[in-house]
Symmetry: C2
Subunit: 154 residues, 2 copies
DNA sequence: CTGCGTGCAAAACTTTTGCACCAGT
DNA sequence: ACTGGTGCAAAAGTTTTGCACGCAG
């Protein structure tokens, strides 16, 4: 895949916006982080290591920009923080995200899964209710393999 | 179905908690309202019509209580407000809620649907990933029948 | 140069908490 | 009476906004 940073820079130029170090740093933070699902504050802390002068307001403003450009997805785990993750869709596939999350009630980890069954469900909704589905978000709460085993022992 | 208010009062007594007018008023507000999915502030406004002296803090405290008793469900539409709706489950069926919402991007209405297909999906997740699903929440964004028709015209 | 973007601080907003008073049991 | 509940106001916490300065184009 083409580097996400390049795509970002391209989009900025297209729209007559400026490519600043802060904006690139913030995208990088989201890209590098393996555990994903970062809050604004977490992104701020990461970027500050490299660029201590950055302001939290800039993080919020850039996050909003990135979401508008469909480069990142908003995600709400219900813990009071809004979280963000890099979108994993292809170039032009701007619609239909893949927000399928398994949230472990034991360790708090968030896994992702690919649900092709959702398409069937959407077809059903379209037919029975006339509701035209554009995007969806699915959250499953439960226990991951390890935590389920741990609980089984007790 | 047995009156939800009676069930609430019963549960309160069981736990040695008090049945106050405020608590009953708040449950009533959630029960009466047809459009459901109310924010704390909205509940506050509704109850204030009947009991102008109520405080917003009491609404928050009661909401928390009702959620703990599984009488209402938390719901996050991603618009910055936490919302609440009366649970539609049977007496003892405390696990596995039915948070299946269709959110219309046109008119903003929120519809509900019953998704039996989700069970299939859960079985698949259990098998392939060893993740034990306890509860789930599904949100579909799109256009309801009316709004889809409206958009078709243009 | 021109104007968009940034940092800082203050504001805005939702939700929580401390405390004195009040009401249900 | 006792104890938990309420209202008010202040606090806490996240996100937004106004403004002067600085940097990208």
């Amino acid at each position: 895949m083409p580097d996400k940073k390049d795509r970002f820079k391209m989009l900025l130029k297209e729209k007559g916006l400026k490519v600043t170090t802060q904006r690139v740093d913030i995208l990088e933070a989201l890209e590098i982080r393996p555990d994903k699902h970062l809050t604004a504050e977490e992104i701020y802390e990461i970027v500050k290591e490299k660029n201590p002068d950055i302001g939290l307001a800039t993080v919020y403003r850039t996050i909003q920009l990135l979401a508008e450009l469909n480069l990142i997805d908003k995600l709400n785990l219900g813990d009071g923080y809004v979280r963000y993750e890099i979108g994993n869709m292809d170039e032009e596939q701007k619609t239909h995200h893949h927000h399928h999350h398994l949230i472990c009630l034991g360790c708090g980890n968030v896994l992702t899964f690919q649900g092709d069954l959702l398409d069937t469900l959407e077809g059903q909704i379209q037919k029975t209710m006339g509701f035209e589905v554009v995007d969806h978000e699915v959250k499953m709460y439960g226990y991951c393999k390890d935590c389920a085993a741990e609980r089984g022992k007790e």
